[in-house]
């Protein structure tokens, strides 16, 4: 019983973190976009924000895919959700290609926004680790 309580608390905490990560990614990219607009130009800021938005959408899609993989039992289901996610990835790659071909000077700004998820995930991992250390102590 106690074990179940601990597990459900852990699960709800995980769910909370997973739900807030997309908001944090978008918030960070918005902040970076504002900074980039001041340092460079508004166009650069918009590309950073667009990269952050794409990263947010990518994480939401990933979350949905993984939830399906973990809930469903059959291997066929894994392939189906894998294919759906692969098609979404193709869409993301197409967006990158459009930017490379038509706005190649702004690709680093877009990549910076798209990579903002790396910073957010590192921050969340550190926060979870510090919380675990507190529980241990």
């Amino acid at each position: 019983m106690r074990n179940n309580n601990i597990r459900s608390n852990g699960d709800s905490l995980e769910e909370k973190i997973l739900n807030r990560i997309p908001w944090e990614v978008f918030g960070l990219s918005f902040f970076l976009a504002v900074v980039a607009s001041f340092i460079f130009d508004i166009g650069t800021g918009l590309f950073v924000l667009a990269g952050g938005a794409l990263s947010t959408v990518n994480f939401i899609w990933l979350n949905q895919t993984l939830s399906k993989v973990l809930l469903r039992e059959k291997r066929k289901a894994l392939k189906t959700s894998g294919i759906v996610f692969a098609l979404r990835l193709v869409l993301i790659l197409a967006i990158f290609f459009i930017i490379i071909f038509f706005f190649s000077k702004k690709i680093i700004a877009f990549a910076a926004g798209f990579s903002s998820i790396i910073v957010v995930l590192m921050f969340e991992a550190l926060a979870v680790m510090s919380r675990l250390k507190t529980w241990k102590n």
Binding site: V69, L93, I118
Partner: protein, 72 residues
């Protein structure tokens, strides 16, 4: 959470590294945008490959856990 984080990091980090290398090489060699395209493709391919491998491993771990639970 761990799986989500590692899978979530794979694609953006691979693409970012590929784009960065491509951008630097393009600047150095004056071949814009070809190096950018080539290294972006390398990054995307490695990201997708690692993502699919991670997804497969996750599913295998899940199946192993289920078998162990059934045995108990």
């Amino acid at each position: 959470m761990m799986a989500m984080s590692s899978l979530g990091l794979m694609l953006p980090s691979s693409i970012a590294v590929g784009l960065f290398l491509g951008y630097i090489l393009d600047k150095a060699l004056g071949t814009r945008p070809w190096m950018l395209i080539v290294f972006f493709l390398f990054g995307a391919a490695s990201g997708i490959y690692n993502f699919l491998r991670g997804l497969n491993k996750l599913q295998e771990d899940k199946e192993k856990d289920e078998i162990e639970n059934e045995e108990q």
